[in-house]
């Protein structure tokens, strides 16, 4: 993978100056490269990884497995396009295996998500069935461990004694 993308993927807040130093290039060329990636659509946005459980008690999310009937010519794209329009939907993936689409949904409560699935998702014409799995605890998100006590540095100084 491109080193620049790898660095940004881990921490999008690194400055162009810092990135240039790490990649042994100029600030200007980092700026140009990022602009090019944005233009080509390689970089699609910059996110913040938030531990919502800490920031806001009213937060729930679920992974929903969907079985759908693909459309002639358009396959799964049509239904996927339809589902990703909902703002409750955080991500949509086409999967191999026992079901077709995996949909991650966020809401204020499990109740709200359950209603969303019942009223909006399962009523879509090509959706054959849904299985809703509520997320109980998020341990790691986007490569980041959310509860810091899980990532304590256990290394000790061997120079101590």
């Amino acid at each position: 993978m491109d080193k620049l993308l790898k660095l940004l993927n881990e921490n999008a807040r690194l400055s162009c100056q810092q990135l240039a130093v790490m990649l042994n290039t100029t600030e200007e060329s980092v700026r140009e490269q990022i602009a090019a990636y944005e233009k080509e659509g390689v970089i699609r946005g910059y996110n913040t990884i938030i531990n919502w459980e800490k920031a806001d008690a009213n937060h729930a999310s679920a992974l929903i497995e969907l079985k759908v009937s693909p459309k002639r010519d358009r396959g799964f794209d049509e239904i996927a396009n339809r589902i990703m329009q909902f703002e409750e939907v955080e991500s949509v993936y086409l999967m191999s295996g026992g079901f077709d689409l995996a949909v991650r949904v966020n809401g204020q409560s499990m109740q709200e998500i359950a209603m969303f699935v019942a009223k909006r998702l399962s009523t879509l014409e090509s959706v054959l069935s849904t299985a809703t799995h509520f997320i109980l605890t998020r341990y790691k998100e986007g490569g980041v461990i959310l509860e810091s006590e899980n990532e304590q540095d256990e290394r000790r100084s061997v120079l101590c004694d």
Binding site: L7, N11, Q18, V21, N24, V158, L159, C160, D161
Partner: protein, 389 residues
């Protein structure tokens, strides 16, 4: 009441306790400390390597290994050294598997030294060489490397300290704590002096796979005429992020390795069996792990060197290990004052340079075996600290 000090060995009693103990006690008691002080990889051992260790346990391989280490491992070590550094060792007679590089250093000194033999030790360097030399009956003679030479050892510095009693030279490169690397031409200069004065060399190459830049590490044993008078110490701790497995090795002439093996067999018996199975896998299939880790270290190194220099803590661009060694003299503080103030004011821990020898005074060791996120946070705290001085 027993007066214990009157009965114990005078040499070990005379070894001073580490001066920075107090400093680490402070760091350990504080909350929210951002440390750049640790001298081991932040990576865990690659999974496929750990898996081989686990598999050996599942298979019930819990017995002693042969004293020298498993033959399969010794063959892999010999193969690795040929492949990486172009030096040939016979796996049956010229390789000894030890409990970390540390045991290899100790065994080498105890095997080579007679009472009164002088051992030349470049400093700043890792803390074990002086006490282990003393315990082996040798006399440590310090060679002070200098910032203006990027902490390399020069032939002149070496020649100056040679006496008729000089037996050995220790070559701790790539260097902890300075990050200094001796390239081929530098080693060739040293080799001439070694040859001329009939010295032996303990080349501690534990950081050998962690060098940055165009050319890779050159083993001192690869320099013309040096193999027969060099004992190479290396290991798995830094190369494969395997510190806790405690596995290293020594390479050298059949005669020296033979005597070291005798010592090892009585003092240690054999190196950990589980670790040896894991190490075989590491040597066979670990090249891409090293490459990944080195790439990470390299980016962090560039970031640290650039940032520290911009803050006025000047440091050369170290080419090896995972440390930078900035000069803090511009602050008017001593190394220990600097570190103590920094930890109280900003809760950032770095190691005073004088922990690695008196000539490390005026410097601090900053480790980059930390994530970039961690390093950038520590750097912004250090920057703030410097503004408040």
């Amino acid at each position: 009441m027993i007066d214990y000090r009157s009965v114990m060995n005078r040499e070990i009693l005379s070894v001073p306790p580490s001066g920075i103990r107090k400093f680490f006690d402070i760091a350990n008691e504080m909350d929210n400390v951002i440390s750049l002080s640790i001298g081991e990889p932040d990576f865990t051992t690659p999974w496929h390597v750990r898996e081989e260790g686990v598999r050996s346990l599942e298979d019930g391989k819990t017995w002693y290994s042969p004293n020298r280490g498993f033959s399969e491992l010794r063959q892999e070590i010999a193969r690795w050294f040929r492949r990486k550094y172009k030096v040939e060792y016979h796996p049956d007679s010229q390789v000894l598997v030890t409990v970390g590089g540390s045991e290899a250093i100790d065994a080498c000194l105890r095997t080579m030294l007679n009472p009164g033999d002088e051992v030349l030790i470049p400093q700043p360097s890792f803390v074990c060489y002086v006490p282990l030399t003393q315990m082996a009956g040798g006399v440590p003679v310090i060679l002070e490397t200098k910032a203006e030479n990027e902490f390399r050892l020069t032939a002149e510095e070496l020649e100056e300290k040679i006496t008729p009693k000089t037996k050995m030279l220790i070559l701790p490169f790539p260097n902890n704590p300075t990050g200094a690397v001796m390239r081929r031409q530098h080693l060739e200069e040293i080799a001439k002096v070694v040859q001329k004065h009939d010295l032996f060399v303990l080349s501690d190459e534990i950081y050998g796979e962690l060098t940055y830049g165009e050319t890779s590490h050159v083993s001192f044993a690869a320099i013309d005429g040096m193999k027969e008078r060099t004992i190479v110490v290396n290991g798995f701790s830094k190369t494969f992020a395997m510190t806790g497995w405690r596995l290293g090795y020594a390479l050298g002439s059949k005669e020296i390795i033979g005597q070291m093996t005798k010592l090892h067999q009585y003092a240690i018996m054999s190196a950990p069996t589980t670790a040896q199975y894991a190490a075989i896998e590491a040597l066979r299939n670990g090249d891409s792990d090293i490459e990944n880790m080195r790439e990470q270290y390299d980016m962090r190194r560039c970031l640290l060197v650039d940032s520290l220099n911009k803050m006025g803590l000047t440091c050369f661009r170290p080419e090896g290990a995972f440390y930078v060694f900035p000069c803090i003299k511009s602050t008017g503080l001593s190394s220990e004052e600097f570190c103590e103030k920094l930890i109280y004011a900003e809760r950032v821990a770095v190691v005073p340079g004088n922990a690695f020898g008196a000539c490390g005074e005026g410097f601090v060791r900053v480790s980059y075996s930390y994530s970039i996120r961690h390093i950038t946070e520590a750097l912004s705290r250090i920057e703030h600290f410097l503004k408040t001085l």
